[in-house]
C-alpha cells in the first residue's frame, strides 16, 4: 500500500518546513505529504507544533525555511509565496480553528454566505450590480444560499439556519465552522481539533461527517486531533510530531506499534508496555 501511495501525485507536499519564534524552534525540518481523497491526521503531545504547521499552511505564518507545495488541477502552487488571505481562493485550503472562530453575532446562514464572499463580490461587480438589484446578482445570491443549504443539510443545521451563530450549542458551533470552511469549495480541509469538547455521540457523528466529506465529496482532510478514537478510526495516514520534529509517519496500525510514539506520549523512563487506558485509546475500535 505504501508503494502505491508513493506513485500517486500528492495533493500537498510539505518539504523541510522550519518555523522559529525567536530561539524556539516550533517546527523543525518537517516533511510529509497528504493525498487526495484521504484523511491525514497530525498528532502529537501539546506544544509539538501541530497548530504552527496549520498556520504555515494557511498563510498566518510565513515559514523560515521549506517548501509547501499544493498540487491542484495539474498545477503546483507554492503556498509560502501566496499572500495569506488568497490561499483559500487560489490553493483551495480551508481551515477551522482550535478555539472556534464563528461570526457569533451573525446568523448561521450568514456565516456560510460570508464564506462565499469572493464569488458573490464578483457577481455584485463590487456592489454596483448589487446596489441596483440586477438579476445577475440576485441569481448569484440564490446560488450562494443553495450552496449554503447543501452544507447545512450535510451537517444537520438546516433547522437553525436563521439562528444567531453564537447561541448554538457547542457541538453545533463546531459543525457550523466545518460547514463554513466547506462553503469555500476547498480541495483540502484543515481541521484543528474538531472533536475537542464533543461528547462520545457527537464525536461519532463527526467521524461519519468527515468520512462523508472524504468519500462523497472527494475533499481531502488534514486533521489535528487529540482524541485517539477519532484519529485511529478514520485516518488513512497519521503523522506524529514531537518538539517540532516528525517522529513517525504511517498507517494508524503502524503508528500504534511505533516505539517512538509510545516514548513521546509516555516519556523515556516508562516501561515498554502501555498502560491499559492509553492502549485502549490507541486501539482501533472493534466496531470497524
Amino acid at each position: 500500500m505504501n508503494a502505491a501511495a508513493e506513485d500517486r501525485t500528492p495533493l500537498l507536499a510539505v518539504e523541510h518546513l522550519t518555523m522559529r519564534f525567536g530561539g524556539l524552534v516550533a517546527v523543525d525540518d518537517l516533511s510529509f505529504t497528504a493525498h487526495p481523497r484521504e484523511i491525514t491526521a497530525i498528532i502529537g503531545p501539546n506544544g509539538a507544533g501541530k497548530t504552527t504547521v496549520f498556520n504555515c499552511l494557511t498563510g498566518f505564518y510565513r515559514p523560515r525555511a521549506g517548501r509547501l507545495a499544493m498540487y491542484r488541477n495539474g498545477e503546483c502552487l507554492l503556498l509560502e509565496r501566496i499572500e495569506g488571505f488568497k490561499i483559500v481562493r487560489q490553493a483551495g485550503i480551508a481551515r477551522t480553528f482550535q478555539n472556534i472562530r464563528l461570526f457569533a453575532g451573525m446568523t448561521v446562514l450568514e456565516n456560510l454566505v460570508v464564506a462565499q464572499h469572493n464569488a458573490l463580490m464578483k457577481a455584485s461587480v463590487f456592489s454596483l450590480a448589487g446596489l441596483l438589484g440586477l438579476p445577475r446578482y440576485r441569481s448569484a445570491e440564490r446560488e450562494a444560499i443553495d450552496h449554503a443549504r447543501y452544507w447545512l443539510d450535510k451537517v444537520g443545521l438546516t433547522e437553525v439556519a436563521d439562528w444567531t451563530a453564537g447561541t448554538l450549542p457547542y457541538g453545533a458551533q463546531r459543525r457550523l465552522e466545518i460547514a463554513r470552511a466547506l462553503c469555500t469549495a476547498p480541495a483540502l480541509l484543515c481541521l484543528d481539533e474538531p472533536a475537542a469538547g464533543l461528547n462520545p455521540r457527537e464525536s461519532a457523528e463527526l467521524n461519519e461527517l468527515l468520512l462523508a466529506i472524504r468519500t462523497d465529496e472527494g475533499i481531502a482532510v488534514l486533521l489535528i486531533e487529540h482524541d485517539m478514537s477519532v484519529v485511529m478510526e478514520i485516518s488513512d495516514h497519521v503523522i506524529v510530531l514531537d518538539y517540532g520534529r516528525k517522529i513517525a509517519d504511517g498507517t494508524p496500525t503502524a503508528i500504534r506499534a511505533d516505539p517512538n510514539v509510545i516514548k513521546a506520549y509516555l516519556g523515556e523512563d516508562q516501561g515498554e508496555e502501555l498502560p491499559e487506558t492509553i492502549a485502549a485509546d490507541l486501539a482501533i475500535p472493534r466496531s470497524q
Binding site: 494557511t58 498563510g59 498566518f60 495569506g84 488571505f85 488568497k86 490561499i87 483559500v88 481562493r89 480551508a94 481551515r95 480553528f97 472562530r101 464563528l102 461570526f103 457569533a104 453575532g105 451573525m106 446568523t107 446562514l109 450568514e110 454566505v113 460570508v114 464564506a115 464572499h117 469572493n118 458573490l120 463580490m121 455584485s124 463590487f126 456592489s127 448589487g130 446596489l131 445570491e141 444560499i145 449554503a148 443549504r149 447545512l152 443539510d153 438546516t158 439556519a161 436563521d162 444567531t164 463554513r180 470552511a181 469555500t184
Partner: protein
C-alpha cells in the same frame, strides 16, 4: 388542594414589594449617614479669638443628611424590586418597545417619514422648529454614515468630524475659487472626503479598538489644526464666508435677483419669504438623509456589508475564508467618510459660513454617542438617539448651566439600563425561512 390554598400559593409565588425590609435597610443606611455626618457636618470649629477654637454644632444638617439618605435608599430599594417584578414577568419597557418596534418596522418608518415631510406644514411649526429639524437630520445623516464604520465594520472612529470638515471645506473652496454651486460640488465633497477616508485607513489597517480610536482622534485634530493654520487657503480662524446657498433647480432663493435670473418666488408667483429657503434646506437634508439610509441599508445586505460585519466579529476568521481585510476596512472607511463629506457639504451651504470652530472633537463625540446610544448598527436607533442628543438639549435651554449635567446624567442612565443601546436589535441580512419553499 383547595382553591383557597392555591390562591395563597400563587400569591406567595408572585413577588411583591417588601416594605418592612426596605424600611429597615433605609434606616440602616441613614444610621451610617448619621455616624459619618456627625463629625463631618455636625461639628464645626470656629475662631473664638486669641487663636483658640470653639465648636459649633449643626445637628439640623445631620438630620437633613440622614433624611436624604433614608429617602434615597428607600426609593432605590423599591425601584429595584419593581424592576425585578417586571423582569420576572419577562418584560421591561424597552424589551416590549423593541419587540413592538421590530414587528412594525415598516409602519413606523412610514409614519416617521410622513411626519418629517409634513413638519414644515404643521400648524405648530415655526422657523425655529424647522431649523432644529435640519440640525437633527444632519446628525441623523452623520450617524448613519458613522454607523457603517463603527456599527457595521466595528472600527472605533473618534475623528469622524474630519470627513465632515473635509466635505464642508471642499464645497466652500470649490465655490469660492471655481464658482461651483451646491449641487455641482456635492459629488466632489463626497469623493474628496472618501479619499481622505482611505488615506486615514491605510496607516490604521493593523489597529483595532483603543489604538484605532486614538489614531482617528489624532487624525480629526490634524485636519482641524491644518484648517486653522493654513490661512492662505482656508482663511484660518476666520473661516470662509459667503458660501453659496442651494438653488431650486437653478432658481435662487433671494428677494431680488441680478439681471436675467428668475428667483424662486418670482417663478412660482409667491410672495417672497425667507422661510422658503429654510424649508427648502430642510427638505434637501431630509432627502440626503433618506438616500443615505437606503444606501447603507442596501449595502448591509450585499456581500460587502456582510464582510464588514464579519470583520467586526472576527478578523482572523475573515482571512481564513479568503476575505481581504485591507479592502474591507478601506471600503468601510471610504464609504463612511463619503457620507460624512456629503453631510459636510450640506452643512456649509446651510450655514453660509464655515470655520474650524464647527469641527471640534465634541462633534465627533456627539456623532459617536448617537451611534452607540442608538444601538450599534441600528438605523432606527440613530434617529432616536439623534433626537435625544440634539433636540432635547435645545428644549432644555431653560436650565442653561445644568444642561450639560442633565445631558451627562441621561447618557449614564441610558448606558446603565440599555448597555447595548436603545434599540439593539439586529435583523439578519438574509433568511432561509423567508424563501418559503420545501427542501
Amino acid at each position: 388542594m383547595t382553591a383557597a390554598s392555591e390562591l395563597a400559593a400563587e400569591k406567595a409565588a408572585r413577588p411583591s414589594l417588601d416594605w418592612a425590609g426596605s424600611l429597615k435597610d433605609a434606616a440602616l443606611a441613614s444610621l451610617v449617614a448619621v455616624l459619618l455626618a456627625l463629625p463631618l457636618m455636625g461639628l464645626q470649629t470656629y475662631d473664638i479669638g486669641g487663636g483658640a477654637l470653639g465648636i459649633r454644632t449643626h445637628f439640623d444638617w445631620v438630620a437633613a443628611a440622614a433624611a436624604a439618605v433614608f429617602a434615597g435608599r428607600l426609593v432605590l430599594r423599591l425601584y429595584r424590586q419593581v424592576r425585578h417584578i417586571r423582569e420576572s414577568r419577562g418584560e421591561t419597557l424597552f424589551t416590549r418597545l423593541a419587540a413592538w418596534g421590530s414587528r412594525r418596522v415598516l409602519p413606523i418608518t412610514i409614519a416617521g417619514i410622513a411626519f418629517a415631510v409634513a413638519l414644515p406644514l404643521l400648524p405648530f411649526s415655526s422657523r425655529y422648529l424647522i431649523d432644529l429639524g435640519t440640525t437633527v437630520l444632519i446628525y441623523v445623516m452623520l450617524g448613519w454614515g458613522l454607523n457603517v464604520v463603527v456599527g457595521l465594520a466595528g472600527l472605533l472612529d473618534l475623528g469622524y468630524v474630519a470627513f465632515y470638515a473635509v466635505g464642508a471645506y471642499t464645497f466652500a473652496l470649490l465655490a469660492r475659487d471655481l464658482g461651483f454651486t451646491f449641487w455641482e460640488a456635492l459629488p466632489f465633497s463626497g469623493l474628496v472626503a472618501a479619499s481622505f477616508g482611505v488615506v486615514l485607513g491605510f496607516p490604521v489597517l493593523r489597529l483595532r479598538g483603543d489604538y484605532l480610536a486614538i489614531v482617528t482622534l489624532g487624525f480629526g485634530e490634524i485636519i482641524r489644526i491644518v484648517l486653522l493654520n493654513w490661512a492662505p487657503v482656508t482663511g484660518g480662524p476666520n473661516g470662509i464666508s459667503d458660501v453659496p446657498r442651494p438653488s431650486f433647480f437653478g432658481l435662487p432663493f433671494a428677494r431680488s435677483a441680478p439681471e436675467g435670473v428668475t428667483t424662486f418666488h418670482q417663478f412660482f408667483g409667491l410672495e417672497f419669504s425667507p422661510d422658503q429657503r429654510v424649508i427648502f434646506i430642510y427638505f434637501v437634508i431630509l432627502v440626503l438623509a433618506l438616500v443615505t439610509n437606503l444606501f447603507t441599508l442596501r449595502l448591509r445586505k450585499l456581500p460587502i456589508g456582510r464582510a464588514w460585519e464579519a470583520l467586526r466579529e472576527d478578523e482572523i476568521a475573515c482571512r481564513a475564508l479568503g476575505i481581504n481585510p485591507t479592502n474591507v476596512k478601506l471600503s468601510a472607511f471610504g464609504i463612511g467618510a463619503m457620507l460624512g463629506g456629503f453631510a459636510g457639504c450640506f452643512f456649509a451651504t446651510r450655514q453660509g459660513f464655515i470655520s474650524p470652530e464647527s469641527f471640534t472633537f465634541i462633534e465627533s463625540a456627539t456623532i459617536l454617542a448617537i451611534v452607540v446610544l442608538g444601538g450599534m448598527g441600528s438605523q432606527m436607533g440613530v434617529v432616536l438617539a439623534a433626537i435625544l442628543l440634539v433636540a432635547l438639549p435645545e428644549f432644555g435651554r431653560a436650565f442653561a448651566e445644568f444642561r450639560m449635567l442633565i445631558f451627562g446624567a441621561a447618557m449614564v442612565a441610558i448606558m446603565v439600563w440599555r448597555p447595548h443601546g436603545l434599540l439593539a436589535h439586529r435583523e439578519p441580512s438574509l433568511r432561509l425561512a423567508a424563501r418559503g419553499e420545501a427542501p
